[in-house]
Amino acid sequence: MSEREVLELLRENARYATSDIARMTDLEEREVEAAIEELEAAGVVRGYQAVVDWDELEDERVRAEVELNVRLDRETGYGDIAERLARFPEVKALRLVSGDYDFDMEVEGDSIREVSQFISEKVAPVPEITQTVTHYVMTSYKENGIELGDGDEDDRLSFSP
């Protein structure tokens, strides 16, 4: 079964019509529908979102990548801290990572002030958090596998051998 292929196509473009996916994978349309339903039910597909290039929009949108260091005690594990942080709507992504720091957190807000306040007032006071390092995103070149900014013009000849 080409579940994987269906997934790859959904990741490429979640708005592909099931009929198009069926054509590309040689499956029946209802097989594609069933596969997608199953993937959703099993929690493999968690949702569908737009990939936005905020720079193309007039409204300001501020994003930051925040490195977090934590100190665990006998009662608290990474999962407990994560649960607490993930609940904030400002947090768009949260990952436990290996290396120099523990968590990698993506935060979004309407202004630098808002994001800074969120980090200093909501994140930093969490008792297990020992350090935060905030990196504001200046320009995004690629999101979710999609390159942002001006696409390459196709300068191939309109006919060629």
Partner: protein, 385 residues
Amino acid sequence: MTIELSDRVKAVPPSGIRRFFEIAEERDEVISLGVGEPDFSTPWAARDAAIASLERGKTSYTANRGTRELREAIADYAADRFELDYDPGEEIIVTAGASEAVDLAFRAFVDPGDTVAIAQPSYISYEPGVIFAGGEVLSVPTREEDEFRLTVDALEAAGADEADLLVLCYPNNPTGAIMREEDLEPIAAFAREHDLTVLSDEIYAELTYDGEHASIATLEGMRERTIVFNGFSKAHAMTGLRLGYALGPAGAIAAMNKIHQYTMLSAPTTAQHAALEALESCENDVREMVDQYDRRRRFVLSRFREIGMDVFEAKGAFYCFPEVPDGWTAEEFAEGVLREQGVAAVPGDVFGAGGEEHLRISYATGLEDLREALARIEAFVEERA
């Protein structure tokens, strides 16, 4: 005073697609399905290798036959992928595109008056190449009923037993047809029986979507009478780097090299560095591109069927070859969809006998454009129905 042109040049008519090109240029928002080159860029590792070679000042000629490293890498690759075993010292020549290699072969093996049989429909450069070399073209039409594969019947019907050379192109541009080993066996027997030299252009070998590519040179008694052409333009998305190669018996390659060393000296050095890297580390990039083409292929085939246009089940290259609806010539249909719907496709007759009443559709184009182009073709067909 005007310069008197050679009869050979005058014998070749202007390209059949030039007129369409001019129409396409004056119209806005044309989606082109007429492009015979990848829409992907050269894999980064290969581009990096080219840049690094420039930074290190590797800008001189290489050995005439190409760098030793590249020929060795080609030998390994051809052996691993296609069971083609050739000695990098004497049996491989690196050229400025497969195009140059094909031209070298015509000039090295064709005497004035010699006959070159070409299985058609086929890539448009063979015929002029034969004429420039002073040879005569014998067209061997293949038919959709045979899945555009070459058969011994077709060879016999065309009188190819009298020919000196036979040109094959599988996977085929423009039909997308492939030939499996069992299809090649009788052709090989025919070539041996009638003492034909075979020129096998296998530049689309990697782009085989169903099973593995088979080369006629691997069949018994064929190695000594076959030249295999390949290159980096298609599978490695390197058209503009101009790099190809030929594999063949030492004497034949030496003859091709004799011409090459006086006309080209050596293939582009920067491109040779890119090509080496392409062979050494870009296998995954190739696989990924092939997967994409395969998806588009299935999409396009299925859409044509839905539109109600007969379409041949292409299994190779990045073309498909639908039949134009009854009452149209390929040329009229191609011009109609281009003028009225802004979709550029190549009429099949430019590829020679057997291509009439077909269009060549290239799916080396993004899926969004393909979807839109097919919707426009559908609208065009429905309006006329």
